[in-house]
Symmetry: C2
């Protein structure tokens, strides 16, 4: 691995005062190029612009995938990344579906270790804050021909992630737009899935909602994801979530919360969740919680669900009563090293 | 419009000897930037690389759309673009669905007129060859946050398009993978649609086919598109094609061929075409032709169709008998200015 350090670090403490996610990049980025069927030696260099032709295939045909994970610092200034092995595995699953080369472990995992270690002063210590890690790969061949690219770039970016204020949001259940098709790319963390979701989300916002709960594209009868997150529903004291499938992202936070829920003795069911079942539960006063979960925000509780023409308010429970809050607390306590990590989820960075 | 001409043209006659599509770019490109809710003045400059940060949102969330059209030169060195108004209209429909700003007519249409005129020596004269025009727009804001970008770039690239050798291809009818969902982005010419199609196409190639005929994502019972083209089927002497929908691109070549077919007195039906109907026709010896149509190749005839486990050969008819050949000839004669253009499809470039 080639390491070209920045001449002078841009870091200063005011970085951690920012409230903006995804805009405050650290000193370095990692870049590896794929050409002629192989990856070149990855290079860590100062973060900044590179030269790309506007004919780079990613701009035209969208072969682009990414991952998101976080690094945390404990009281002893030790830095940990949460479950990077899961993101590595999913990244290469996405790569396969998008017909892109896989990224070898020594580039992905060692690359992330090295760059996070190099920029470790950028990892904040405050509970709720973290350093966001964004591995991405996109097509760079200079060609406007609708076929797979022969050249790709793998990049790792790091950006400060401020504490996310968990304001409850409202969600509209999709009854027209869809996020993914049977036989499509819904399970892959690919660029096109996100682009396709922005307009329907904006339309939901015009109707007074913050986000969309995506449903199956065939009949809109079963819920699949919420915004860019997995979605969980609590009916009575039962926690429900859809099984992962070719249409649903296999979320790391989803998996972690389900593990914690089961090990806490919660009643968990992983099965298709019908919109009608949610509506009936709402009418019976049994729709206790609906929340999204993902790396960026951990958990986002919803205080209203839009069923067709009916807006159903959901009372936000106290931190002691709310499954979302209980699970979020348990997860973050592990992430921040405040409790034991019986699952081996924390991976230490550097020595 | 700012025009910064190349110091010395890269053009030489050997450009027209190339057999490669989408790699031979002309002297110039047009670039316009969108920021703070408005487009800046478009600039024509020498074609080449620009600086982009790897955090540019197009690489992560795929807000990217494009168009494809062609310029032709007649014997009098007059240059014409084929139906650019249709591409302009579709470009902005794609922009809306992808939650991107629309591009004003004076940037899109005048921009294309100006750059094609400037690079008119790159427009070839040989029948079958042309200059390919690629308008594209993608998200450039430096942010890794899953939301719509606030900054975009509109670019027009020009590349020599060699004569396409119309080798018949074989196609497999999709029975697992899908191109687009109801409520999705299939009708938009957006980057993600292409990326999602490459792996299924490669899988079809492993089965001995060149391309995929996409079917509805619900039951795979009705055909929708072929490869990256619209698809037409001739059963007996009837020409069939699926109606455009939110899942199917509203192709300019498709529309032009349908117009020519109707005006030639062909029996044309625009309605859902069932896979079973095609199979039954094949068994009855009535499946005369299946072909894709699009700007890049005009028409691509298929000599075999894969129905589930059965590979159905289709005899390629003579140019006199083949609807595909007849329609292709009529269309190209208009494009190359060999016959009258009663439809007003040709738009002259410059004086």
């Amino acid at each position: 691995m080639i390491i070209e350090k920045i001449a002078e670090s841009k870091f200063n403490d005011s970085v951690f005062d920012s409230k903006v996610f995804g805009k405050n990049f650290t000193d370095h980025m990692l870049v590896a190029k794929y050409k002629d069927g192989k990856w070149d030696e990855p290079k860590i260099m100062p973060y900044g612009a590179l030269e790309f032709t506007p004919a780079a295939m990613a701009f035209h045909y969208g072969q682009a995938i990414f991952e998101g994970m976080k690094a945390y610092k404990n009281e002893n200034d030790e830095v940990f990344i949460f479950r990077p092995d899961r993101n590595f595995e999913r990244f290469n699953l996405s790569a396969e579906r998008l017909n892109m080369p896989t990224v070898p472990e020594e580039i992905f995992m060692e690359g992330i270790q090295t760059i996070v270690d190099l920029d470790r002063q950028w990892v904040p210590k405050n509970y709720g804050t973290s350093l966001y890690i964004r591995p991405t790969m996109f097509a760079t061949e200079e060609a406007i021909s609708a076929r797979s690219s022969n050249e790709f770039m793998f990049v790792v970016l790091l950006a400060y992630a401020p504490a996310y204020y968990d304001k409850p949001l409202s969600v509209k259940i999709a009854d027209f737009y869809s996020r993914s098709a049977q036989g499509g790319v819904g399970f892959a963390k690919c660029a096109g899935n996100y682009a396709a979701s922005f307009y329907p989300t904006q339309e939901a916002q015009k109707d007074g909602y913050d986000q969309v709960i995506w449903t199956d594209s065939i009949e809109h009868k079963y819920i699949e994801e919420a915004g860019t997150m997995n979605v969980m529903v609590r009916i009575g004291d039962k926690l429900l979530t859809a099984p992962t499938s070719e249409r649903i992202l296999n979320g790391v936070t989803r998996d972690s919360l389900l593990t914690l829920a089961k090990d806490s003795g919660m009643d968990v069911e992983i099965r298709p969740v019908a919109v009608q079942e949610m509506y009936d539960a709402y009418k019976d006063g049994q729709l206790k919680e609906v929340f999204g979960c993902g790396t960026a925000v951990v958990v986002n509780s919803y205080n209203a669900v839009g069923f067709a023409e009916e807006r159903a308010p959901i009372e936000i429970l106290s931190d002691e009563e709310s499954f979302a809050s209980i699970l979020k607390g348990k997860l973050r306590d592990i992430q921040y090293g405040l409790v034991e990590d019986p699952y081996g989820w924390r991976v230490k960075v550097g020595k």
